[in-house]
C-alpha cells in the first residue's frame, strides 16, 4: 500500500475549480516532488490530504486511512504548509511545547527538534522576532516533533538562505533514506530537480505527469542519444543501415532515437571511434513548460 494515495480528488471554491480528478501515489523511502505553477492546486491538494480542506470528490489517504482517522496523526505525518504561522507573542520553544503536548510527544522532543533545525539558541525568543528563514525552520521542527513516517513540505525553501536551502535538501534526502515518504511541493524547479526521485506535475488542478524523474525527463517518444565521432558521416550511414534514424544535432554530432547501448553497438560493429555518447534528457524546466504550458518562475 502506498504511503500516500490520492484518488480522484476534486475541489472547487465557488466557481473556481482548484483541483480536478487528481490521482497519484507517493511511496515510502522516496522523495516525490509535487510541481506546478503558482495557483495550480498544489496547496489545496495538500490541505485536502491533511483534512484541512474538504474535497468535493475523491479520497486522500495515508496507508489507506484519512488523516483524521490516524490514531496519532502527528506521529504518522509531519507537515509544513505554506504560510506556516505562529502566535507572534509566543516563543518558538513554547509553540513546540503546545504541539508536543497536544500530539502526545515527549517534551524532550522539543529540544531535540530545535537542535536539529538549528534554533536552540533562539528557542526562548518570541516568534515575532524571527526572520522568515527561522520561522520556516520552526515549522519544520514542528513537523519533525512526532518523528513521522511521512513528511509533507509545501514550498519548504521559502525564506531560506542558500545554506538553509542546502540544509533542507540534505534533510529531505536523509529523511527518505531512513525510509520515510517525503512529498515536497514547489514551483522552484531547479531546487526540486536536485533532490527528488519521483515527480508529480500538475497544472490548472489536473495531473500532467507522474513517475520517476528520469522517465518524466526522458523524451515522450522514447530514449534519445547524442553521439559524436571522428567520422560522423560514416556513422550516420551505419546507423541508417541498422534501421535507426540519425539526425544532425545542434552544435555538432548526431541525435538518434535509440538508447546509448544500441548506438554504441552500431559504432563498435563498424569500428567507428566515438568521442561522445550520452543519453539526451530534457531539463525539468523544459518538461515543466511543455506539460503546463507556462513559464516556470
Amino acid at each position: 500500500m502506498a504511503a500516500i494515495e490520492i484518488r480522484g480528488v476534486s475541489k472547487h471554491f465557488g466557481s473556481v475549480q482548484a483541483v480536478r480528478d487528481l490521482s497519484f501515489e507517493v511511496e515510502a523511502g522516496r522523495v516525490t516532488g509535487f510541481l506546478g505553477p503558482n495557483g495550480a492546486g498544489k496547496s489545496t491538494t495538500l490541505r485536502v490530504l491533511l483534512g484541512l480542506v474538504h474535497a468535493n470528490d475523491g479520497s486522500a489517504t495515508f496507508d489507506g486511512r484519512r488523516y483524521e482517522e490516524l490514531p496519532h496523526a502527528s506521529s504518522h505525518v509531519g507537515a509544513v504548509l505554506e504560510e506556516a504561522s505562529f502566535h507572534p507573542g509566543r516563543s518558538g520553544c513554547n509553540h513546540l511545547r503546545v504541539l508536543a503536548t497536544a500530539g502526545r510527544h515527549p517534551e524532550a522532543r522539543v529540544d531535540e527538534v530545535l537542535e536539529r533545525v538549528g534554533l536552540s539558541g533562539a528557542a526562548n525568543r518570541r516568534v515575532k522576532g524571527y526572520s522568515m528563514g527561522m520561522r520556516q525552520r520552526l515549522a519544520i521542527a514542528a513537523a519533525l516533533l512526532g518523528d513521522p513516517d511521512v513528511l509533507i513540505l509545501d514550498e519548504p525553501t521559502n525564506g531560506l538562505d542558500p545554506p538553509g536551502i542546502r540544509w533542507m535538501r540534505e534533510l529531505v534526502r536523509s529523511e527518505a533514506a531512513s525510509g520515510r515518504a517525503v512529498l515536497v511541493s514547489s514551483h522552484l524547479l531547479a531546487e526540486v530537480s536536485q533532490s527528488v526521485d519521483d515527480v508529480v506535475v500538475i497544472a490548472h488542478g489536473s495531473l500532467r505527469a507522474h513517475g520517476p524523474i528520469a522517465s518524466v525527463l526522458g523524451s515522450p517518444d522514447g530514449p534519445v542519444t547524442r553521439v559524436r565521432s571522428a567520422e560522423d558521416d560514416r556513422l550516420a550511414r551505419l546507423l541508417r543501415e541498422g534501421g535507426l534514424e540519425p539526425a544532425s544535432a545542434d552544435g555538432g554530432g548526431i541525435l538518434v532515437r535509440a538508447d546509448p547501448a544500441a548506438v554504441g553497438q552500431v559504432a563498435a560493429d563498424g569500428a567507428v571511434a566515438l568521442v561522445e555518447l550520452v543519453a539526451q534528457s530534457r531539463s525539468l524546466e523544459e518538461v515543466f513548460f511543455e506539460l503546463t504550458g507556462e513559464e516556470p518562475d
Partner: protein, 248 residues
C-alpha cells in the same frame, strides 16, 4: 482529551494577553471595591451585593476566551492546532474547558483580593461586613459564573470569527443593549446571557443594572440551566461551522 486540555492551558499561559487581561481584571475589581467600600455606607443586608460582587473577571474571561478562539484564525494557528488535533469537536471542547478552568481560577484570585481589601476598608470604617459563610458563597457563585463565561466565550468566538467584531459586540450587548432591554422589558432581558442570567447567578438585584423596577430575575438554578443552554447553542453552532469550514 487531557493532552489537548493541557496544550490549551499552555497556550493560555504563554502569551502576554492572558497576563495583561488577568491583571486588568484584578485592577478594575480592586478599584471598584476600594471606591465602593470607601464612598458608600452599605447596610448589613446590602454589603454583600454592594461591595463583594465587583469581580470583573467574568467580563475579562469572556473577552479572553473570544481572543483565544478567534486568535486561532487571526494568527492562522488553527492550521497547526488541527494538524495536532484533527478531531475538531475535541479541539473545541478542550478549548472551552480550558477557558472555563481559567475563568474559575481567575475569579477565585480576584475574589480573594477584593474580599481582603473590602474587609479591611469596611472594618476600618466600622461598617458591617458579611458573614464568612455568605462571603464564601458569593466567591463560589462568582467563580462558577466566570467558568460558564469562559465556555460561553469559546462558543461565541467560534461563531463570530472576526475578533474585533466579536469583542465589540460583547461589550455592546453587555453594557448597552441588554441593560437597555432590561429597562424596557425586564421579563425578556432576564434571559439575556450577558447581564440578565449572570446577575441571577451572582445574586445581584436587577435594579442595580438599570432593569425596570419589579423585574424578578430567574432563580439561580434556573438561570444556570438557561446559561448552559446558551453555551450549548453557541458551542453547537461554533462546532458546526468549524467542521464545515475549509482551513485554507
Amino acid at each position: 482529551m487531557i493532552p489537548l486540555l493541557r496544550a490549551e492551558l499552555i497556550k493560555l499561559r504563554t502569551t502576554r494577553t492572558f497576563l495583561a487581561l488577568s491583571g486588568a481584571a484584578i485592577a478594575t475589581s480592586l478599584l471598584t471595591v476600594v471606591l465602593t467600600a470607601l464612598l458608600e455606607e452599605p447596610t448589613a443586608d446590602q454589603v454583600l451585593s454592594d461591595v463583594f460582587t465587583s469581580d470583573t473577571s467574568t467580563l475579562f474571561i469572556l473577552v479572553l476566551a473570544i481572543v483565544g478562539i478567534s486568535g486561532e484564525w487571526r494568527h492562522r494557528t488553527i492550521t497547526s492546532s488541527l494538524l495536532a488535533s484533527p478531531d475538531r469537536l475535541r479541539f473545541l471542547a478542550a478549548k472551552a474547558i480550558a477557558f472555563a478552568a481559567a475563568g474559575l481560577l481567575l475569579s477565585l484570585a480576584v475574589s480573594l483580593a477584593i474580599s481582603v481589601v473590602g474587609y479591611v476598608i469596611l472594618s476600618s470604617r466600622d461598617l458591617p461586613t458579611p458573614e464568612m459563610g455568605e462571603l464564601a458563597g458569593q466567591v463560589l457563585r462568582n467563580a462558577f459564573l466566570a467558568a460558564l463565561m469562559g465556555g460561553f466565550g469559546v462558543g461565541l468566538g467560534a461563531v463570530v470569527r472576526n475578533q474585533p467584531v466579536a469583542i465589540v459586540g460583547v461589550l455592546l450587548f453587555s453594557f448597552v443593549l441588554e441593560p437597555l432591554l432590561g429597562s424596557l422589558a425586564g421579563e425578556v432581558a432576564r434571559f439575556g446571557p450577558f447581564t440578565g442570567l449572570p446577575l441571577a447567578i451572582q445574586g445581584i438585584p436587577a435594579e442595580e443594572f438599570g432593569f425596570e423596577e419589579g423585574t424578578e430575575l430567574l432563580a439561580a438554578g434556573v438561570a444556570t440551566i438557561a446559561m448552559l443552554a446558551w453555551i450549548g447553542a453557541f458551542f453547537a453552532a461554533g462546532y458546526t461551522l468549524l467542521r464545515l469550514r475549509d482551513v485554507e
